[in-house]
Amino acid sequence: MNGFLMTNAPALLIMLPLIGAFATPFIGRVSPRVRSAWVLLIMTLTTLTALLLASDVFLNGTQIYVFGAANPDLAIPLDSGGIPIRIIFTVDAMSALMQVIGAITGFAVLLYSISADRIHSGLESFYTLFLLMIAGIMGMVSTGDLFNFFVFLEILSISSAGLIAYRIDGGLAVEAALKYFILSTIGAMVILIGIGIYYGEYNALNIAMIASRMQFTLLDQIALVLIIAALAMKCGSVPMHFWTPDAYSMAPSSITAMLVVASQASLYGLFRVVFTLYNVTLNAMTVGWIIIILGVLSMVVGVTMAIPQKNVKRLMAYHAISQTGYMLLGVGVGLAVLGNQPLMESFGYIAMEGGIFHIINHAMYKGLLFLTAGAIFFRIGTYNLNKMGGLGHSMKYTMIFFIIGALAIAGIPPFNGFASKLMIYESVFAFNPVLAVIAMVVSILTLASFVKVFHSIFMGPKLPEYETVQEAPVPMLIGMGVLAAIVILFGLFPQPVVDGLIAPAAHALADQSGYIAAVLGGA
């Protein structure tokens, strides 16, 4: 049984959410409680499978899974002449890390959503689309085949567009979903053009196959530009960030937390294309500086647009753009010194580890902040900062979770934001001091913005219209508590996390030959 689970874990990781999503309309017809129990069961099984697969990958190296072969390890069929012709899931340490992030965030958000979204109607569609989103995220980060990546990207964007427009809100949510979906569709078509260019040149769709045949011709440069532009749009970096505030603020709060993970899965796609597909064949300094510029723009524009906002979720959405800039900055610095082994050893790997650690930290504390905003909305019905006040008297647990999230995003020790930001500051300073100064100024502005938000929501005398407000329901508090516990845990003990989870991921990302050998040379 254990062996069966271990070998088939990559397939189970997408099979379980898909079976759950397709069976939910039938099971939901029995009663709402049975449906909630079914969805929770599927999500628990998916989380356990993701953790099992992650432990296997971190102990034993890159795992592959071949769809449709007699044996899951048979990457190159015997009569094909050395070409992997089937769809292969290649799970290396970076993919395993993203799977763990997606699974844990999905589990916490589902616990929160079972009580928070109970008031809506049409819930079997809601949970079906939610499980399809989970399947899309898991598929995107595990696959080793470019066209399969595009298909899962489209599954993810169609189901999240449906979920953003879920609470119609007099048409506002549908307008936000429309903007998100039009941009997302055009971006996906541009990615498909890039994939078509690769297929036309190298006659292969497998990432390891294209990477082993890659020469950096003019067509490859065009494809690189198209794919970087489209994936940077999908993760919400400036100057393609215009869908982010609308979509994040109009979606139900549980879906906003999952949208953060979805944006980071697109960020993973960007890193996979640049590092594994191209690696040292491209001009690392130029492309690295382009990604650094995107990161710096996102950081600065995000935090300056966040300061005058009155809608608390729009403010948090602009901060999400700003934090994505940190990740792009860290990994961009790592990319700029790729191929230069002494510089990589001294600060390149630390920069990449800082960026990747920031991905998991951001998912945790940003999800926590959005869930607290949703809890406040659940009790008082508004997101407008001018109308809130004095909630610290009645919603004590929510206030504590909000403080944890706000201190983590500002980079205050002992929370996890400080650990990853310190790594980014040190390594970026060794590369170029101006960038590190900009990063620190942005961090101070983030702290100022969240002090303002905290003061206007929770401090002050109790307002008369909020006399009867109680604490949020217990399932919502448990969901928030899971994320808060990880925020505190990663902040207090960052070194084991970096050594055990993040450093293998960074080394696996920068190591193209190991990836190719796992698919083509070995099994």
Partner: protein, 114 residues
Amino acid sequence: MFWNLPFIAVATLSLIGLATVVTKKNLIKIFLGINIFEAAVNLFLISLGYREGGIAPIFTSAPSTDMVMATPQALTLTSIVIGVATSALLLSFAVIIWKKYGTIDTDQIRRLRE
């Protein structure tokens, strides 16, 4: 020059589609622009599969065995299906916006501001 004609058509259709999305004000015309762009990308994928002297990869009553690979056709089929799902979702968004806002002119669908 003649053998590049499919790719020239792809470039022309993409530019027409993108220009429609950027300049038009009616929501349905924007969706038609997205559809034209998707058609251009499908044409690009199909025209990558051309091999001189090859026939379609169907064994039923085939005249010879010099066949092209079936991969670009599978990619295009998947892309067409995704295009259908995308169009269906966009059109249902248009129906809801027309019911709630009373108009489908993008200059008036601007309630989400700063």
